[in-house]
């Protein structure tokens, strides 16, 4: 069971605020400590984090498995590219457009998704991911999409320049701050959305759909809206990705992307907002590590690392963090020493239950 962010017994302590502030300062200085190319990689991590967060809203929090989120990423990216290249829209304005378009499409996708469950939904979304590259290459849409050649974009220049720590404020660094700002906005949005009634409703729908419906939650509306919101997040990530990479083509958005987003989500931890960062770091950097270890079969190394990670952390990085956290909470330790109390309303860790429930 996942803990809800912001629920009563989880109000962040003072030191969490301090740590958060330090983290923010570090994040602001970071691009000037490393070369441009690393900043570019960090930008990609942030982009993937938003995409994985979108997927997590749908699959982690709401239990609807999607193997096709790469499709929304692609649609968001192409929407941004077409608007920038053919219409001349400034890059920052394309983000809300991409988000809105993907929200609409995700919402529409939500309706057939209502009828499908589990593996069937997974395959239906997989079908979506498969169809997108073919649609992008379709000759009657070539005029807009650029067909198989894709669309080359212009990387935005920073609006002003200065030097810090002897590094210029380059286009990459400007994009870093832009991306960071967007990431913070999206994560705060998600956190707000998920900590209140909406979040509880989503989790209720995931775990006990019939009870949720009986309690008066409008299942079809909620599930479709969740699909829409999830798609919107991933669409914004796609648009941001298009700006950062400055190129879109059908080959950038194959089924592999959808699979990797899923992998990243599980690695980071289902139903975890912060987990999205760890997932993004995994899918961005582990292929590079695998490449350094083997030229003959880098994908095999990636597979081995993935499986080993799943052994060590079956509930993802955040799942592991939560478990360790719960173990070290003073309340849990006392509860362990006392034994299980019938009717106790204190949320206890699962370890506790499996250890003590011998009778």
């Amino acid at each position: 069971m996942s803990a809800l962010p912001g629920s009563h017994d989880q109000r962040p302590a003072k030191w969490v605020w301090i740590a958060g502030a330090l983290l923010l300062v570090a994040a602001l200085v970071l691009p000037f400590l490393v070369k441009n190319y690393r900043v570019f990689q960090f930008n990609l991590v942030l982009v993937y984090a938003i995409a994985i967060l979108g997927l997590n809203i749908l699959t982690g929090f709401n239990g609807q498995i999607s193997l096709g989120h790469g499709a929304f990423y692609a649609i968001g990216a192409y929407a941004a590219a077409v608007l920038m290249d053919r219409v001349g829209m400034p890059y920052w304005l394309t983000l809300p457009f991409s988000g809105a378009l993907c929200f609409l499409l995700g919402f529409l996708m939500g309706f057939p998704a209502l009828r499908l469950a589990g593996h069937y939904l997974a395959v239906a979304t997989l079908a979506l991911a498969l169809a997108i590259p073919q649609l992008l290459k379709y000759k009657h849409l070539e005029h807009y999409t650029g067909g198989v050649q894709g669309i080359v974009l212009v990387k935005p220049d920073p609006p002003f320049t200065f030097r810090l720590l002897d590094q210029p404020f380059s286009a990459d660094r400007w994009l870093y701050f832009f991306t960071l700002a967007v990431t913070i906005v999206m994560f705060v949005l998600a956190w707000n959305l998920l900590r209140g009634r909406v979040g509880r409703a989503l989790i209720a729908i995931r775990d006990h759909p019939i009870a949720a419906a009986a309690m008066g939650i409008n299942l079809p509306m909620f599930k479709s809206l969740t699909f829409g919101v999830s798609a919107a997040f991933t669409g914004v990530a796609g648009a941001l990705g298009a700006v950062v990479i400055a190129f879109v083509s059908p080959d950038s958005f194959t089924v592999t992307l959808s699979i990797f987003l899923l992998v990243g989500m599980v690695v980071g931890g289902l139903a975890s907002i912060t987990g999205a960062f760890f997932g993004a770091i995994f899918i961005q950097f582990v292929p590079n590590i695998a490449d350094e270890l083997s030229k003959s079969a880098p994908a095999a190394i990636y597979g081995v690392l993935l499986i080993m990670l799943m052994y060590l952390m079956p509930t993802g990085v955040m799942g592991m963090v939560r478990r360790l956290w719960a173990r070290w909470q003073p309340g849990a330790r006392r509860a362990r020493m006392r034994g299980v109390q019938p009717g106790s309303s204190v949320p206890v860790s699962h370890d506790h239950l499996t250890k003590e429930s011998a009778t």
């Binding site: 469950a117 069937y120 169809a131 379709y138 699979i259 992998v263 799943m310």
Partner: protein, 290 residues
Amino acid sequence: MEAFVHQIFSGLANGCIYGSIALALVMIYQATHHLNFAQGEMATFSTFIAWALIQRGLPYWLAFLLTFGISFAAGVLIQRIILRPVEKAPVLTNVNVFIGLLLIFNALSGWIFDHTVKAFPSPFPQESALKTAYFSAHESGSFLVMLAVLLALYAFFRFTPVGLAMRAAAQNPESARLVGIRVSWMLAVGWGFAAAIGALAGMMVAPSVFLDPNMMAGILLYGFASALLGGVDNPWGAVLGGLIVGVLENLLGAYVIGTELKLTVALVLIVGTLTLMPSGLFGKRVVTRV
């Protein structure tokens, strides 16, 4: 008219290909309630092993049986060694492990056996009685083999105690344990069978599609679509689903929408069908107690 009939039969032959992989997927699903993403790559790797044995000079049927056995053993080992640690983990964690296996097998195939296209022999002689006006000997032969596997699977699950035990272990592991079924071993045997059927599918598919490390990549996706179209817990459904997808794709490409969009339209139709019949065409409608 002639061309139309040809397209249908060609679609049926393709459908056989999809159906055979769908069978392996359904087998795994019935035994473990998981969809194995690595099924295609495992099948390809098994086919490469068969190819290597034949290259060494073994006669076809000996290589075939050896590969069947090796694949079964490998399937059991994979379940025991690689999947057992995550048996109790959430579904998506298992999916990640499957994806890892997919990547590993695909990379190993390429590394050990190279990427050049290889011919794989067919056990059905070209000019035998199996050859008809619209089906080549191999296509007819594959179809019959698939039917035989289908019947064997059906009989196994329905009429044998082991089959019953496997179904029980997948549907309700706790109760199965209580009646003395060794659930873990049932899972392992299920994986063994699925790997063996996958190897069979690979060896039936390779003669017409040619053998290379990415042989099954596209076919696996069609296999998923077929298995779910037919109902993921129904072996008959898997085969029928495969045949439908094969014919549908051919007809769409040749007569309706052209080859540049046939994949998209085929997928739309499949998703549409699933929306109308959420358990697939022949799947069991699951009714849960509230």
